[in-house]
Symmetry: C2
Subunit: 145 residues, 2 copies
Amino acid sequence: MKFNTKTRYGLRAMVEIARETNNNGIFQKDISERQDISNKYLDHIIYALKVAGLITNVKGKKSGYILTRPADQIRILDINNAFEPGICVIDCIERNYKCDRENTCSAKKFWSGLNNIIADYFQNNTLQDLLEQQMELEKKETANQ
Amino acid sequence: MKFNTKTRYGLRAMVEIARETNNNGIFQKDISERQDISNKYLDHIIYALKVAGLITNVKGKKSGYILTRPADQIRILDINNAFEPGICVIDCIERNYKCDRENTCSAKKFWSGLNNIIADYFQNNTLQDLLEQQMELEKKETANQ
DNA sequence: ATTAATCCTATTGCAAAAGTAGTATAAAAT
DNA sequence: ATTTTATACTACTTTTGCAATAGGATTAAT
């Protein structure tokens, strides 16, 4: 049970973009350098985030990426959903999934309970939360040096 | 992000074993039939559960499997851990994982927060909870027919 | 001895994830 | 206008780990 790299990298990329949104944005290649992600692979990440409508580079190719809406209105779930159909820890809890056992399976209840708490966590955390956390961590780190 | 079939099947097998523990246990092949799992594949599941010390067939090969301890003392986490090293949604939150960013990465905080709530869920649910749920669901189903 | 069930290791098959390549395009700099 | 630089988009390759099967060994009851 591991989360995929696209969602992981996507999160980190979004934090970078969020922090530079009020400062003319950030280039893909700069995200690549700061986060140690191959620029070529990051291509896919950025592309998916753009298609999902979370980021834009409206002023042309050399303007850098910015968020399309405030960070507190971007849930982590939105970022996840740029790469995945949603949160689903096990196939049988999806709509339209047919299973003879579905009404008498305590395991299914267990898994759907798990799915709910994960989905809640993704709903309740926003990019703003991560951004604030990020700033705090960096401040702390600077103070230690 | 999907849970693997071993843990899924393992859960269902454990419920079957739990319900038959006070009744001379249950054979692997009967679990296989009741749960529609290939007997050959179930081999691995049962084996892992036995190695983990959760089940036994103490009276010999023809006695059927029973639990080694009461269902309320078997956490779902114990079952998970028969198949997995533990709960870990992303490599970088493991001990000994080296990353330059580790002290200043808000994403890591997010993921380890998620890991905690999942681990808690697995800790707080026991096989007894599933068993009771199971009995209730079956009673309800019988009433509907 | 034979049978029926488990025990245990090895191996195969396959699908999805991770990552690379390459061409097209578009804005900006010269 | 041409060159440069960065993104846009599709296709492809490589890798990995999961799911499942195979098969012989073992054990205990018939």
